[in-house]
């Protein structure tokens, strides 16, 4: 297959892309005059309405890992991928909105690591800040790598040029308009992604005969792969036994690993998303941010997972695997696994469907939506990076007490450096066959223990700085040890685990990731509690507004019943529960 001819763009497609580029740059340009202080630049002057911060909250996370990774997982694991939303993200978003935001926003910390500084001490903040900074660079590098690879494969564009052009655009609008510009563009990108993918799902369903047609074809495929007929079309029915579903995990590993540890770890502590809520105009707006975000988020499986499932059954280049092509070696030949079967490139599921169903015109829109997702993810990472670098590393350790103008300048410089580092990371990232699994792995090492630290810090006033620091460190080490001692089925020791010896083999990478996260969280929890009990706690007076027991309850009595965060949270949970039952 001649790769460069997978798709050809017509002038109208380029016009659509150009209009989008002009729009994001215009937003940055219009906002440039508003960036007077570092608070404007890093926190949008805490002045944004909740619908804006709410949509940015999900859009910042809607990068390559979500759009391509969820399509890939949809093709690999079927509708059960929606557990990432209905067991994972949504309950965590409700929790962060109702219970944790009062401390993030109320403490007036300017970043998540800074909350750790206020609650615990400098060393805990620094540990979190450094690991977080590394992670944002890494994430945005992966996002860029995926973009460059994809545009090269689909359109024959140069890998380097694709990366450079998108990086320069993101750089320009962030340097101009800071966090406000990133957030405004994230909302714009959110709409573009939704409007680019909705017609894809619509045409896809028409092509496969609706949900009914899709279910019939997936049942046949499921049986052919040795699973029960409903393994790809029902989220829960085959979760009783790890051997009966393609994820290779049973319900406990799923709920604890993905739902509790990974998702709460990500959505409740990751400054990339929490920063959006911290930019809100008031405490109530900050608390409503993740809840408003949860409303569209719960329907995202239909937008990003369904295309992967449809791509699996539409007849195409992949033969029995629908539109999904084999991975290619550097020489352009199909990559084979140990058994001689071609290794499938699941990340291409969604883009292949796009090319298959969109004519000229809509193709431009679909590709622009993909570009928008990459840019929103990259911008989210870069704005979180420049804030953590400037406040938690530079101001804390390198240059204290400089003028505000100096930190504003440093924020802009950090934006440039962050993007340069991310470009470097893009050239490093290419070992995993599924970007989502790789990111989940990184999050498992760094984020899973974090949720234990933050929740103990917020809800148990006895927790001490020493306990938090050593707990966090041992959690991350625990994750690395578990990962080093286990392997997913069929993998060789190396980046996928097993580098410390092999004591257990999991049926899939995801199952291994979930258990790595559970190990990290448990280790952090136990070590933090034990060391806290052995060290001296801070007096209550210093912890007011930082710990649940010492902070007045949020009553929200000044708001009408339906505007209260609690009401919204309950509605979100009921709707999510209903979705679980519909696709049980």
């Amino acid at each position: 297959m001649d790769i460069a001819r997978m798709a050809r763009l017509a002038p109208v497609d380029y016009v659509v892309m150009a209009v989008y580029f002009a729009a994001v740059l215009a937003v940055g340009w219009l906002l440039r005059r508003l960036m007077r202080t570092s608070t404007d630049f890093f926190l949008s002057g805490r002045s944004l309405p909740p619908w804006v911060t709410g949509l940015a909250f999900i859009s910042a996370n809607l990068g390559a890992q979500e759009v391509l990774g969820m399509g890939a997982s949809g093709a690999k694991y079927g509708i059960a991928t929606s557990h990432f939303y209905w067991v994972g993200a949504i309950p965590a978003m409700v929790f962060v909105g109702l219970f944790m935001m009062p401390f993030y926003y109320g403490s007036r910390a300017r970043s998540a690591p800074e909350y750790l500084k206020l609650r615990f001490d400098e060393k805990t903040r620094t540990l979190n800040a450094v690991s977080f900074a590394v992670m944002t660079v890494f994430s945005s590098g992966i996002s860029m790598y995926a973009l460059g690879k994809l545009l090269n494969l689909l359109l024959g564009w140069s890998f380097d040029a694709s990366i450079l052009v998108s990086a320069v655009i993101v750089l320009a609008y962030i340097v101009l308009g800071g966090l406000t510009s990133a957030i405004y563009n994230e909302v714009l990108q959110f709409f573009l992604i939704v409007f680019g993918f909705l017609p894809l799902v619509w045409l896809g369903l028409v092509a496969v005969g609706g949900w009914h047609g899709l279910s019939m074809q997936l049942s046949a495929l499921s049986v052919a792969r040795g699973f029960p007929a409903d393994a790809y079309t029902h989220a829960w029915r085959t979760m009783g036994d790890a051997a009966r579903n393609p994820i290779g995990v049973e319900w406990f590993g799923l709920v604890m690993g993905l739902g509790f540890v990974l998702s709460f770890g990500y959505w409740c502590t990751d400054f990339l998303v929490v920063q959006r809520a911290m930019a809100a105009e008031s405490m109530t707006a900050a608390r409503r941010t993740p809840l408003i975000a949860a409303l569209p988020k719960m329907f995202f499986p239909f937008l990003v997972i369904l295309p992967g499932m449809i791509a699996l059954v539409l007849s195409g280049a992949g033969g029995a695997h629908g539109l999904i092509p084999a991975k290619l070696t550097a020489a352009g030949l199909p990559l084979l696994d140990a058994a001689g079967h071609p290794v499938l490139d699941y990340d291409l599921a969604t883009p292949m469907l796009l090319i298959r169903l969109f004519p000229t015109g809509m193709l431009g829109l679909g590709l622009t939506a993909l570009l928008a997702s990459f840019m929103s993810g990259m911008a989210g990472n870069v704005t979180a990076f420049n804030t953590v670098w400037t406040y938690d590393i530079y101001q804390a350790h390198i240059r204290k007490g400089a003028s505000d103008a100096h930190y504003l300048w440093m924020g802009r410089a950090a934006t440039v450096v962050g993007i340069v580092l991310a470009i470097a990371a893009a050239y490093v990232a290419s070992a995993f066959n599924n970007i989502m699994d790789m990111l989940q792995l990184v999050f498992a090492f760094v984020n899973a223990p974090l949720f234990a630290t933050f929740s103990l810090g917020m809800f148990w006033k006895r927790t001490t700085g020493h306990g938090a620091f050593w707990g966090l460190l041992s959690g991350t080490i625990g994750a690395a040890v578990h990962h080093g001692l286990t392997l997913p089925a069929g993998a060789v020791p190396g980046i996928k685990g097993g580098y410390l010896g092999l004591v257990h083999t999991y049926p899939s990478e995801l199952a291994q990731t979930f258990w790595t996260a559970i190990t990290a969280w448990t280790t952090c929890m136990v070590v933090t509690i034990v060391i806290s009990l052995m060290t001296r706690p801070r007096p209550d007076e210093e912890l007011r507004g930082l710990v649940y027991a010492l902070t007045p309850r949020q009553t929200d009595a000044e708001h009408s019943f339906w505007r209260r965060p609690t009401t919204l949270g309950v509605i979100v949970l009921i709707m999510t529960l209903a979705l679980n039952f519909v696709f049980f």
Binding site: V19, M35, R36, D40, S47, V52, L192, V206, S282, L365
Partner: protein, 99 residues
């Protein structure tokens, strides 16, 4: 605090979708009946989706314009003063975080 309200977000989004709707919808009209729609299940997706985007774009733009002309642009509210906010400010002052 510099007002984010000085740019109503609905204006750029409305503008973008109006432009996209015109371009893609216009292209759909120009290519109506063309063989390129074989791949989209014989649906002139450019025309239909262009119209949808145009409608959404115009509605957003109009809503943004109306709000911008009003006395209290959307997105600008009085900051809520609460006792706990003041307590936080005191703590902030003590820990030298105040800006």
């Amino acid at each position: 605090m510099s007002g984010s309200a000085s740019l109503d977000l609905r204006l750029p989004i409305g503008g973008l979708f109006t432009a996209l709707g015109v371009i893609i919808g216009g292209y759909g009209i120009a290519t109506n009946g063309s063989a390129i729609y074989a791949q989209s299940q014989s649906i002139n997706i450019n025309l239909w989706w262009g119209l949808v985007m145009l409608l959404v774009g115009v509605l957003m733009f109009v809503a943004g314009m109306r709000a911008s002309r009003g006395a209290h642009p959307s997105g600008m509210h009085e900051t809520v003063e609460s006792p706990e906010g003041r307590a936080t400010e005191r703590r902030e002052h003590r820990s030298g975080l105040e800006q």
